[in-house]
C-alpha cells in the first residue's frame, strides 16, 4: 500500500504481501525482494513476533491467547480513537496519513519497532513463569511491587499489594505478571529518555495529528468529547481482540481510572512533538479556526456576549501580536517560543476585553449597567432598531448567564457523580482471582438491575450528540435572554475620532509574573483576592473549557503584561490602578 513502485514485470502498482513479508504484484504474481518494513495498522498475530524479536520461541498460551506487545495494544487504542474522530467528521487523511506516520515515527524513535533489535535487550520471559526457582533465584529481577509502583497510573495500593502477595504466594504454581509479552519490561525501564507511552499520551497523539491537519477542534473540546464518551478512552481495552489476553501489569498500563487533565495532555503533546523531531507545523493563519480571532468569536457567542466585542478582541490580539503566524504555529523543540493554548488564550483575551470595557471591580460594571438600563427604558423600540439593538446591560447578562451556568454546572456535577467507570470486561490480575472478580461483577450487575428499576423513569439516557457549543442562545427568544445583538454604545465614547472605552481605568491581575519554569505558573489565583465579577467571568470560561480558572488567569496575566508592557516598565506600585 505504501509501496508505490511499478512492478518490474507488468508495470502495475498493485501490491500485496506474502507470508514471508515480501511484496508481490497482484496482477502478475511477481515476487520482489523487497521486504515489508512497515507494519500496517491492523493487528497480525505472530508475524509481528518474527519481525521484532528473534529470541522468543514460546508459543501462545493454552487458553487461546497469543503473544502481544504493549505497543500493539496502544496501536489498537489509537486506531479506535481516530476512527471515532473520523465519525465526528474529521478528515480521513488524519488517520491514514498523519497519525499513522506519527505513530510509526514514535515506534522507531523509541526503538520498539522498525529497528534491528528492540532496545538492545531480549524480552525477558517475565510473562509466564513455569517454575518457581526461576522467579526467586534471579537477583536482577525486580520485585513485582516495585514494578507496580513505577506505573504512573493510579490504582489502589491495596490491590497492588494483594496482587503482589498473591503472585508471590502462588510461586509454586504458574504466576502471571502480565498478559502481554513485555508488560513488566515496559514499566521497568527508565523511560524518561524514551517517552514511555501512556493512555493520556494517546490523546496527545490525537491532538498532535489534529493540529497538523488544523481541524476545527480545540484541545479542551477533544477532552470534553472524551469525557462525554464520543472518543474511546476509559475502557478501550475491552475492544481488544479475544486473543489478546490482558492481565496483571497490563491493567496498570491500559486501565486508567481518572480523566486526563488538559495540562497533562498538552505538555506531553509538546514533548512528543520534540521527541519525534517533527518539523514546523502547518501555519495557523487568520482564517484558521484556532486563530484567536476565530475562537474569540465562537466563545463570545457561547458566552452570550455582544458581537460588537469582537472588534475589541481583534484589537487586543493585534496589539500584543498573538495573532501572528509565527506566534501561533507550533515549532517542535523550540524552547524559546511560548507553547500556545489556543482555547485558553482566546478565553483570556475576552476576559481582558471585559476588564477593559467594564473594569470588573465589583462596582463600575454595575454602575455602567444602571446607566444602560436607564437609557434602555427611555428609548423607544424604533430608536433601538436604528441604533442597533438595546444597550448592553451587564446586570441582565450576568443574571441570565449565571442562571444557565448554574443549571449546567449542577447537571455536570451530577454526571460526574454518576460516572460508571467499570465495563463489562472484568479486570483480573491473575487466573487465580478470576472467579472472584467474575462473581463480584455478577453481583454488581444484579444490584444495578435491582436498584435501577427503583430509580423511576430516569434511565440513563443515550449519550447526547457531540456538540461544539455547550451553551446556546437564540436571538429568536423574545424574552431578551440573547445578548448577541446588543450594543456597546453605553460603555464606549468617541475621543479624537476614535472609539474608546468610557472606563478609564484598569487593574492588573498581578504586577509581577512568576517564573513559569520554576513554579509552573505565571501567577497564582486565589479567589478571595479578586473581585467577584472577575471570578464569575473566569468561572464561566472555566466551565466551557473544563479547566481550572487558574489556567485562564495565567493567560490573562500574560496578555496584560504584553498589553501594558511599557507602563509596567515604569515600575508602578503593586496593585495600583492604571490609567490607560
Amino acid at each position: 500500500r505504501d509501496f508505490n513502485e511499478r512492478c518490474a514485470q507488468c508495470s502495475e502498482v498493485n501490491w500485496g504481501l506474502t507470508d514471508g513479508g515480501r511484496f508481490y504484484c497482484r496482477s502478475c504474481h511477481n515476487v520482489t525482494e523487497r521486504t515489508r518494513e512497515v507494519v500496517n495498522t491492523d493487528f497480525i498475530t505472530n508475524s509481528r513476533v518474527q519481525t521484532i524479536s528473534k529470541g522468543l520461541k514460546k508459543q501462545g498460551k493454552n487458553d487461546g491467547g497469543c503473544e502481544w506487545y504493549i505497543c500493539e495494544g496502544f496501536q489498537l487504542v489509537l486506531k479506535k480513537q481516530v476512527e471515532a474522530l473520523e465519525a465526528l467528521g474529521v478528515c480521513p487523511q488524519m488517520k491514514d496519513e498523519i497519525l499513522c506516520n506519527f505513530w510509526r515515527c514514535y515506534l522507531q524513535k523509541s526503538k520498539q519497532a522498525y529497528c534491528k533489535r528492540p532496545a538492545g535487550e531480549t524480552v525477558k520471559a517475565l510473562s509466564v513463569c513455569e517454575s518457581s526457582t526461576d522467579v526467586d533465584s534471579d537477583p536482577e529481577r525486580p520485585s513485582l511491587l516495585h514494578l507496580l509502583s513505577l506505573s504512573e497510573s493510579e490504582g489502589d495500593l491495596q490491590t497492588d499489594c494483594s496482587f503482589a502477595s498473591s503472585v508471590s504466594k502462588a510461586s509454586e504454581s504458574t504466576s502471571v505478571y502480565s498478559g502481554s509479552v513485555d508488560g513488566s519490561l515496559y514499566l521497568m525501564k527508565n523511560q524518561k529518555e524514551k517517552l514511555r507511552m501512556t493512555m493520556p499520551m494517546t490523546l496527545s497523539f490525537c491532538y498532535l495529528a489534529l493540529l497538523w491537519v488544523r481541524e476545527p477542534i480545540t484541545l479542551s473540546e477533544l477532552l470534553r468529547f472524551v469525557v462525554e464518551g464520543h472518543i474511546p478512552y476509559m475502557n478501550v481495552f475491552q475492544h481488544f481482540p479475544e486473543k489478546m489476553k490482558l492481565c496483571g501489569l497490563d491493567h496498570k498500563i491500559f486501565c486508567v481510572e481518572s480523566w486526563p487533565l488538559y495540562e497533562e495532555v498538552f505538555n506531553k503533546m509538546h514533548e512528543l512533538a520534540a521527541f519525534l523531531d517533527l518539523p514546523r507545523f502547518p501555519d495557523i493563519t487568520e482564517s484558521c479556526f484556532l486563530h484567536p480571532d476565530m475562537l474569540c468569536m465562537k466563545y463570545l457567542m457561547e458566552a452570550n456576549l455582544p458581537d460588537e466585542l469582537h472588534n475589541w478582541t481583534c484589537r487586543v490580539v493585534k496589539k500584543i501580536g498573538i495573532g501572528e503566524v509565527d506566534f501561533l504555529t507550533l515549532m517542535p523543540g523550540n524552547k524559546s517560543t511560548r507553547k500556545v493554548k489556543y482555547d485558553v488564550l482566546a478565553a483570556a483575551v475576552i476576559v481582558v476585553v471585559l476588564k477593559l470595557l467594564f473594569l470588573l471591580d465589583d462596582h463600575y460594571e454595575w454602575l455602567l449597567s444602571e446607566f444602560a438600563e436607564e437609557r434602555n427604558k427611555n428609548n423607544t423600540e424604533v430608536c433601538m432598531f436604528y441604533s442597533g439593538g438595546p444597550y448592553f446591560e451587564f446586570k441582565k447578562w450576568y443574571e441570565v448567564v449565571k442562571h444557565s451556568l448554574d443549571v449546567e454546572q449542577k447537571k455536570l456535577d451530577e454526571e460526574k457523580a454518576k460516572y460508571l467507570w467499570r465495563c463489562e470486561k472484568p479486570l483480573f490480575y491473575s487466573v487465580k482471582n478470576k472467579s472472584k472478580v467474575l462473581k463480584r461483577r455478577q453481583m454488581v450487575v444484579n444490584l444495578q438491575n435491582q436498584f435501577g428499576k427503583l430509580s423511576g423513569s430516569v434511565q440513563r439516557a443515550e449519550k447526547p450528540n457531540p456538540s461544539s457549543f455547550q451553551l446556546s442562545w437564540s436571538e429568536e427568544n423574545t424574552d431578551g435572554s440573547c445578548f448577541h445583538g446588543h450594543s456597546l454604545k453605553g460603555v464606549l465614547q468617541e475621543k479624537c475620532g476614535l472609539l474608546t472605552t468610557m472606563n478609564p481605568d484598569y487593574w492588573l491581575c498581578t504586577v509581577k509574573l512568576c517564573n513559569e519554569k520554576l513554579c509552573g505558573h505565571l501567577a497564582h489565583y486565589r479567589e478571595v483576592e479578586f473581585p467577584q465579577s472577575y471570578h464569575f467571568v473566569l468561572g464561566l470560561f472555566s466551565f466551557l473549557l473544563r479547566i481550572q480558572p487558574s489556567y485562564i488567569h495565567d493567560e490573562v496575566c500574560m496578555i496584560e503584561h504584553r498589553l501594558f508592557n511599557k507602563k509596567l516598565c515604569k515600575k508602578l506600585k503593586y496593585n495600583t490602578v492604571l490609567r490607560k
Binding site: 453481583m443 444490584l447 427503583l454
Partner: protein
C-alpha cells in the same frame, strides 16, 4: 498540584455518596436508588484501608431504600439481604440480625425464627470466635421468640383451664419453650448491657415457675451491678417485682429512691410520693415533698392533676399541722422565681379552669398557700369557682384566706 483536580474513581464515588446521603435525608428514595445504582461498582475496587467499605455502605443504604421505597416488595428485600450476607464474612451475623429485625417489623415471625436458627448454626473458622457477641445476641433473640411462643401457649392453657380442659400436649410444648428461652435469655443478661426486653421476659418466666429468688437476683444484678450501664428501667422493673412480691414499704422505697435520683420526672414518682407521705418517719415525709416538687419541675407534669393533688394534700396537711413549714420554705426557695410564671400565670388559670376543674382546684390550693390569696392564679380560679357556686371552691377560699399569713413566712 494539579492532580488535586483530577476526577478519578475515588472522588467520583465520594461525590456519588454525598448525593445519596442528601436524597436519603430528604426521603427521595427514587433519587437515592438512582445514585446507588452508580455507586455499586465500588464493590469491584479494593477499599480495605477505609473505615467503612463500599459493601457496608451498600448494605446499609440499600436496606433503607428498599425498606421505604413504595415499589419495593418484601421478596426483593429478602433477596437483597441474602446477597448482602455473602458480601462480607465479618459482617455476616450483623446482617442476619438486622434482616431478622426487618422481618419482625413486617410481622414475619416464623421467617425471623428460621433466619435466627440458621445464623446460630453458622461457623466460619476464627470468625466464629471473633463474632461471639453477635452469636449471643442472635441466641438471645431466638430466646425472645421462644418466650413469645411460650406466652402464646400459656394463654391457650389458661383459656382451656377455664373451660375445664387440661391439655397435656400444650403444657409440654409450653415447658419446652420455657427451657429454650430461659437458657438463652439467662446467657445474654450476664453480659453488661441494656437488655430491658430480655430481662422482663426472663423474669416473667421465672415468676411463673416460682423461681422468685432467682428473679430477685437477676433484677438486683441488673439494677445494682456497676458494670452494667446506668438504666432507670432496671429500677422500675425491680420495684414492680418487689411490689408484686408484696415486699415491705422499706424495700420499695429504697428501690424508688434511686429512680428519683436518676429520673426525677418519672411517672412512678406519684406512687413514690404517696408511699412517702404515709410514712411514719419524718425524713421520709420530707423526701416525699421533695419528690413531688421535683416532678412538677418538668413541663410534662404541668397538667397532671394527680400530681398536683399529691402536692396539694401534703402542703395542706403541713399547713394545718403547722409543723415543718420550713420544709415547704426550703422547696419553695429555689422555685419562687420561676414557678409563678411556669405554673401560676393568669393565662394558665383561665385555661386550667376551662379545661380541667379538678386540676385548677388543686393548683389553686397550692398557689394560694405559696403565693397568698392575692396571687393571680388563686384569685381567678377561686372567683370563678365561687361564681359557679361549686362548694369545694368556697371551702378552698376560706381555707386559704384563713391561712394566708403562712405564705409570708414561706416566701420570707
Amino acid at each position: 498540584s494539579s492532580n488535586e483536580y483530577k476526577l478519578n474513581f475515588k472522588k467520583s464515588k465520594e461525590a456519588c455518596l454525598s448525593y445519596i446521603q442528601d436524597a436519603l435525608l430528604q426521603k427521595q428514595w427514587k433519587r437515592a436508588a438512582e445514585f446507588l445504582t452508580c455507586y455499586v461498582e465500588s464493590l469491584e475496587k479494593d477499599y480495605s484501608r477505609e473505615h467503612i467499605g463500599p459493601s457496608e455502605m451498600i448494605w446499609r443504604i440499600g436496606t433503607e431504600i428498599l425498606w421505604h421505597h413504595s415499589q419495593s416488595r418484601m421478596k426483593e428485600f429478602n433477596c437483597f439481604m441474602e446477597q448482602m450476607k455473602t458480601l462480607g464474612v465479618k459482617r455476616y451475623l450483623k446482617v442476619c440480625l438486622e434482616h431478622v429485625f426487618h422481618l419482625l417489623c413486617n410481622g414475619q415471625i416464623d421467617e425471623a425464627y428460621q433466619n435466627l436458627s440458621l445464623a446460630e448454626s453458622w461457623r466460619f473458622g476464627e470468625q466464629t470466635a471473633i463474632q461471639d457477641k453477635e452469636i449471643k445476641l442472635i441466641q438471645a433473640y431466638r430466646g425472645l421468640l421462644d418466650y413469645c411462643s411460650w406466652s402464646k401457649q400459656k394463654k391457650i392453657l389458661l383459656e382451656h383451664g377455664e373451660d375445664g380442659f387440661a391439655d397435656l400436649a400444650v403444657e409440654q410444648e409450653m415447658h419446652g419453650y420455657f427451657r429454650k428461652a430461659a437458657v438463652n435469655l439467662k446467657e445474654i443478661i450476664k453480659i453488661p448491657g441494656v437488655w430491658d426486653v430480655f430481662v422482663k421476659c426472663y423474669v416473667d418466666l421465672l415468676e411463673f415457675y416460682g423461681e422468685h429468688n432467682e428473679a430477685r437476683q437477676v433484677l438486683n444484678e441488673y439494677a445494682y451491678n456497676s458494670k452494667f450501664p446506668a438504666n432507670p428501667n432496671a429500677h422500675v422493673y425491680l420495684y414492680q417485682f418487689l411490689k408484686r412480691q408484696g415486699e415491705s414499704k422499706k424495700s420499695l422505697i429504697s428501690a424508688l429512691k434511686i429512680l428519683h435520683d436518676v429520673v426525677p420526672s418519672h411517672e412512678l414518682m406519684i406512687d413514690f410520693n404517696t408511699m412517702l407521705q404515709k410514712s411514719k418517719k419524718r425524713k421520709k415525709r420530707q423526701l416525699g415533698l421533695e419528690v413531688i416538687f421535683a416532678a412538677l419541675d418538668y413541663a410534662g407534669w404541668k397538667e397532671n392533676a394527680k400530681a398536683w393533688s399529691c402536692l396539694a394534700r401534703q402542703v395542706k396537711q403541713i399547713v394545718i399541722s403547722e409543723k415543718h413549714l420550713d420544709w415547704i420554705k426550703q422547696e419553695w426557695n429555689s422555685r419562687k422565681d420561676w414557678w409563678p410564671d411556669f405554673h401560676f400565670s393568669r393565662y394558665l388559670a383561665k385555661r386550667n379552669w376551662q379545661e380541667n376543674k379538678s386540676l385548677s382546684y388543686e393548683k389553686a390550693l397550692v398557689a394560694g398557700i405559696l403565693l397568698g390569696k392575692d396571687c393571680k392564679y388563686f384569685k381567678y380560679v377561686s372567683h370563678q369557682g365561687c361564681k359557679a357556686r361549686v362548694k369545694r371552691f368556697r371551702m378552698l377560699k376560706k381555707f386559704v384566706t384563713r391561712h394566708n399569713p403562712v405564705y409570708l413566712r414561706i416566701s420570707g
